[in-house]
Amino acid sequence: MSSEELKQEIRSALDNTTLARTLGTFCKTYPARRENSYKGVDFEAVREQIKTVKSYAADHVDELLPQFVENCEKRGGHVFVAKSTEEAMEYIRQVVKEKGVKSIVKSKSMASEELHFNKTLTEDGVLVQETDLGEFIIALEGNTPVHMVMPALHLNKEEVADLFTDYTKEKNEPIIAEEVKTARKVMRERFIKADMGVSGANVAVAETGTVFTMTNEGNGRMVGTLPKIHLYIFGIEKLVKSFSDARHIFKALPRNGTAQRITAYISMYTGATEVVTDKEADTKEKKEFYAVILDDPGRRQILAEPEFRQIFDCIRCGACLDVCPAFALVGGHVFGSKVYTGGIGTLLTHFLVSPERADEIQGICLQCGRCKEVCGGGLQIPEMIMKIREKDMENHPNAVKKFALDAVTDRKLFHSLLRIAAVAQEPFAKGQPFIRHLPMFLSGLTEGRSLPNVAQVPFRDIFPTIRQNVPNPKGTIAIFTGCLLDFVYTDIARDVILDLNSIGYLVDMPMGQACCGCPASNMGDVENARKEAEINIEAMNAEKYDYIVSACPSCTHQLRQYPKFFEEGTPMHERAVTLAEKSFDFCKLFYDLGGCADEGDGKDVTVTYHDSCHLCRSLHVTNEQRELLKHTKGVEFVEMEDHDNCCGFGGSYSVLYPEISAPILEKKIGNIMNTSADVVAVDCPGCLMQIQGGLDAHGVENIKVKHTATILAEKRGLI
């Protein structure tokens, strides 16, 4: 599929008003409800435990798997370990045929989707019924899940009523409670008559041969209680060692998944349990219990790749979807594949469903890092998506993107391009190929934002003219400006210097510095990112300075990443570590060096703060800047709603996916306007550009966006 087709998918998802409403409301209320469900429970401790038991299981899968088989069989189960999805499906078809199964009731099983279970058996003439309400609805619609936990979020009650009317041939009213009753009635018939029940497992315990299934609707219990044959389908990643280990997973799963402390049902089956085989005669026997375990090459590949192995720690709670700003807008039909959705879905899709689809959708990730905060298994989701992006870039270098990144690496060329662009307005027009693919700096070109002026004189030429009056300097700090401060927001760089001067530090600007490499990294271009790291390590000469300051958290973050580009033990690596350790973001450094003081002109100004994704979630700086602002005389500080939600900038993102970026920005602007603030403080020039552009587009003139460094310099009378 071309990126144009993906864009088409994005547009139609954005046009789906139900999706926007339900997903929007859900995602908005989710964080608070989730937090509430964790009252009295230490989430960090729980996810540490989950990581421990899950990674143990991943490391010992070759012991745990045969152990599960043995223990489940000891208790009367039949276990088949399938080496491929085809093999699994073939085995199941055989069982279905041999046992004369005519009808099947299924509770949710994502693994079964990998097998094309429904399609294959339906073609064999078997009646396969999805019984989870959401799954049932999308099966009627002929669609795939839009969300891992809530598959039918994209449909409203009217659409559901129509689907039910078609199916039952009776008029269904668009009343949710009534629709739920219809589902109960229709499904009850099926449960009673079904020959076989199919379940997915949340957890499988090796030491006891127990499988766990969590549901709210009770369909999981029906499937396990009524039919004479019970089939479980799951992958090797569901294994844990002991029964006791399983507990941790069910502490996080309902809380993370649906913000419930516990779901209505958690059922645990160990081997073949009792079932009524003849209801007229009231005969009870052991049921026929099968477990098909997927041990396919895709799963083995996950285990074989050190960077991706942690995917096995995923508990499929869906929390990463619920907090993802991109997912909130487009849902899982776009940001996902037919089986798995969202950020984690991109990774699972890469290994288990279709690497091609994963390549397409990885670009939707903004790299904002929100998913990581809530992830039940503590997965480094954005980092892994980045790895896929890098692989994709390596395999399919996109000529235009690559050109742009090459240009950034060469700062002279880059600045001339920028200047050309600034002078000749023509290339900024929408649809111009050249400019549209330039990385982040020109993202102001797209809808909903105005373009910042490219500075006529870059900061490197301004720097020597700044008079630094520091009589007895406490130390010398090197400033890393990054492209946006060097070429666009030169004033911010100046303010950083004046602020640091005011607390007794001299600032130097090493002239050889180039782009930090963040845009290249963001696009998966490791080669250029490494090149830029080398240039900067040489240029910054960190050994010479007490600290390195940057006023762009994306740059700071990138500088701190430099060691990973070089082999340990090499001189370059050593220098990278030195640079990384000395690099700080402005507000953090200024605060730590004693810059927080009750100073200021005392003139009243109301300030709100937008947290940049990199500063709050990668660098974990959320307090220092607020303290600095609150202590500034005259500043009244107010928080906006969702202050740490992404503004939609995401580096090159707003250029590549303006359709997604624009509505994210809209929300941010709305939250800002709901405060009484005169000024929005930010610490990231990218966010500044994005938010300023959004305010301009709304014609809001009375709210200014300013870097914290600028506010401090202004209020302290330094400029």
Partner: protein, 183 residues
């Protein structure tokens, strides 16, 4: 095991109520009356009952019958298709979550707890543990995990249509726990 404390009972009750269940406490002698009272009030005409010694002692079946409720004690699988009420005993409870725990492989007990419209779960107060972790400790320490263990926390529910939380899908629409004071 010790008799349930008032504090633990209140905790169980509050948490069960927070997931749309209801809860009453009864002495052994009053068990039948308590069960019959719940069904009478809800207008349940008939019930599948899986009797246990505790329920026998508490006179559950007699109490239901004398309240005019038709009781089925066999062919549960067949009867549960039409009968509205279901009564069975649970092996444990978790106070912190308002959870009833079925901890043995008796199919009729699973059927009544799953298929009925109104399910009453009886549980001995002494078997209610304070926390979720206690339950896992207890189960893990058993010489053998029972073939079936089921946690039940309130009636069945869904939020699959427009994220609107609705009670009662495939499982019971209503659920009550009766906590029996035992020594």
């Amino acid at each position: 095991m010790n008799k349930i404390t008032d504090e633990l009972y209140e905790r169980f009750k509050t948490n069960l109520e927070s997931v749309n269940g209801t809860c009453v406490r009864a002495s052994k002698a009053d068990l039948g009356k308590a069960v019959a009272g719940i069904f009478t009030e809800a207008g349940i005409p008939d019930a599948c009952v899986v009797e246990t010694p505790l329920m026998k002692e508490g006179g559950v079946i007699e109490a239901l019958e004398s309240a005019g409720i038709r009781v089925c004690t066999d062919h549960i699988r067949l009867n549960a298709e039409t009968v509205k009420g279901g009564v069975s005993e649970n092996q444990y409870g978790i106070a912190d979550l308002g959870t009833l725990v079925q901890g043995r492989d008796v199919i009729d007990e699973r059927i009544v707890a799953t298929m009925s419209e109104y399910y009453i779960g009886i549980v001995k107060g002494s078997t209610i543990v304070p926390e979720y972790d206690d339950m896992f400790d207890l189960l893990s320490a058993l010489p053998e995990i029972p073939g079936f263990v089921g946690f039940i926390s309130g009636p069945s529910r869904t939020a699959d249509i427009e994220c609107v939380s609705t009670v009662g899908v495939h499982g019971p629409l209503r659920l009550a726990a009766v906590v029996v004071d035992d020594e």
